[in-house]
């Protein structure tokens, strides 16, 4: 079980801020494929991963990063702080 968090328009498209996900994916990209296959709202949110960023245990990571040992995955659009 892994905690998956969504922020900004990713959260709005999927319709929830976080959920627990049972996954056997080896990488972030694998997890994204599993989520996309779930429902149309996930497919819409993950349609273009080049428009998304991912953090593993609160550190920015790449979509090909391994999930082994990761407890928290967050998906969000490019940040607009400051």
């Amino acid at each position: 079980m892994i905690d998956v968090l969504y922020f900004a328009w990713v959260r709005e498209r999927i319709g929830l801020p976080r959920e627990q996900v049972e996954t056997r994916a080896a990488t972030v990209a694998g997890l994204v494929d599993e989520l996309r296959a779930r429902e149309e709202r996930y497919a819409a949110a993950f349609a273009d991963t080049s428009a998304l960023r991912v953090a593993l245990d609160q550190e920015l990571a790449d979509f090909d990063a391994p999930l082994a040992g990761v407890r928290e995955v967050a998906f969000f659009p490019p940040m607009t702080g400051g």
Binding site: F7, A8, Q58, P77, M79, T80, G81
Partner: protein, 145 residues
């Protein structure tokens, strides 16, 4: 080094005064304040963030600044939640023996906070609310450091 992420407004003048008073040995203090610009019919701005990661990310950016420049102290205050036009969104302050370091570190902090701290802005107008898109120029700004 101070990092505060908060919903409450902050008193920018008092923050800078206290920061300067505490920065023993500094010859230069630079501050930046970001304000909700009241343009294009903006009625409000909502800022979402990633509790936990936000503080860690800002601390990491401050640590990088300290390693690169001779800083006496650094401060980042960033708000989240609902803000009105004209309200201060965030501020950074840097204190250094010399002005070059204080200016460079403040600009570095701003460039990195824009693109590497997990905040997202949503602007409200009469027509509805839209997420602010990241600007390519903001990502490009990181390349100069």
């Amino acid at each position: 080094m101070g990092v505060r992420v908060q919903a409450a407004p902050f008193d920018q003048g008092a923050e800078i005064a206290a920061f300067t008073a505490a920065a023993a040995g500094a010859g230069a203090v630079v501050s930046f304040t970001g304000i909700v610009r009241p343009d294009h019919g903006l009625t409000g701005m909502e800022i979402e963030h990633y509790p936990g990661m936000t503080e860690k990310a800002i601390r990491s950016i401050l640590d990088q600044a300290v390693r690169r420049w001779s800083l006496v102290d650094g401060l980042v205050v960033h708000r989240y939640g609902l803000l009105a036009p004209g309200e201060a969104i965030m501020m950074v302050a840097t204190a250094a023996p010399h002005r070059g370091d204080a200016f460079a570190a403040a600009e570095f902090l701003m460039d990195y906070l824009k693109s590497r701290a997990p905040f997202w802005k949503k602007e409200s107008r009469d027509g509805g609310a839209t997420w602010v898109a990241a600007r390519e120029a903001d990502e490009d700004a990181l390349k100069r450091w």
